[in-house]
């Protein structure tokens, strides 16, 4: 039984999302921007799972699982792009 109310979990999710946004906006290197995206994605996933718990509907976990797998695939493709960007010098800036 989680003792904390839903708003606590959502607060953590919002905090993760905001930190990820800050990372994306602050960092210029594509690798660190990708880490910011990962943080945002984790915040969204935490919100999904906590809503699944607090509505008592386990199907929400399935949706969150799909999101997790899509995130993993996205990381793989994005890291491949980062490697490609790093192979050609002087063009690594993402803008």
């Amino acid at each position: 039984m989680p003792g904390a109310p839903l708003s606590t979990y959502l607060a953590v999710a919002v905090l993760l999302f905001a930190i990820g946004t800050l990372g994306i906006l602050l960092r210029r290197s594509p690798l660190l921007m990708l880490m910011g995206i990962e943080l945002m994605w984790n915040g969204a996933n935490l919100a999904l799972v906590s809503f699944a718990r607090f509505t008592g509907n386990p199907d929400g976990q399935v949706l969150a699982f799909v999101a997790l797998v899509v995130a993993a695939a996205e990381v793989a493709v994005a890291l491949a792009l980062v490697v490609l960007l790093a192979r050609r010098p002087r063009e690594g800036a993402p803008e």
Binding site: E38, P58, F65, V70, V77, A80, G92
Partner: protein
């Protein structure tokens, strides 16, 4: 970063999402972070050492935008779901067996879709990086 991901796994356990906690540890704290480290190593070895590090963007506006997002989302959260307590659930709710039954009996199509997405991603990565030009 790894610490935050592991902490998330603990929160999932608290939320009765046992399979999700395990998947979080394996996929994120394990696979994704290792992938990040490998890419960092590859980039660091490919890059000539004299190159200056990537600078930070405009700090003030970024912090402002992020804080604004935090405030708006936080107000929404506090205003909408205050006092929403957890409903009573069965002891087996969210267990691995329950999640597996949900995933493989009720929602087979999304599961197969994730398999397809993963396969497409792997093929795409192979096409992108494996090219020798």
């Amino acid at each position: 970063m790894i610490a935050s991901l592991l902490g998330l796994a603990g929160l999932y356990l608290d939320l009765h999402a046992e399979f999700f906690a395990a998947a979080q540890v394996l996929i994120y704290a394990g696979a994704v972070m290792i992938l990040f480290l490998f890419v960092i190593a590859i980039i660091a070895s490919a890059r000539e050492p004299a190159e200056p590090d990537t600078s930070s963007g405009p700090v003030r506006s970024a912090a402002l935008a992020s804080a604004g997002l935090l405030a708006v989302l936080g107000l929404l959260v506090i205003g909408s779901v205050r006092g929403w307590a957890a409903p009573e659930i069965a002891a087996a709710w969210g267990s691995v067996a329950d999640f597996g039954e949900r995933l493989l009996v009720h929602h087979v199509f999304p599961f197969e879709l994730t398999a397809f997405v993963l396969m497409a991603a792997v093929v795409g990565v192979a096409v992108l990086v494996g090219r020798r030009g």
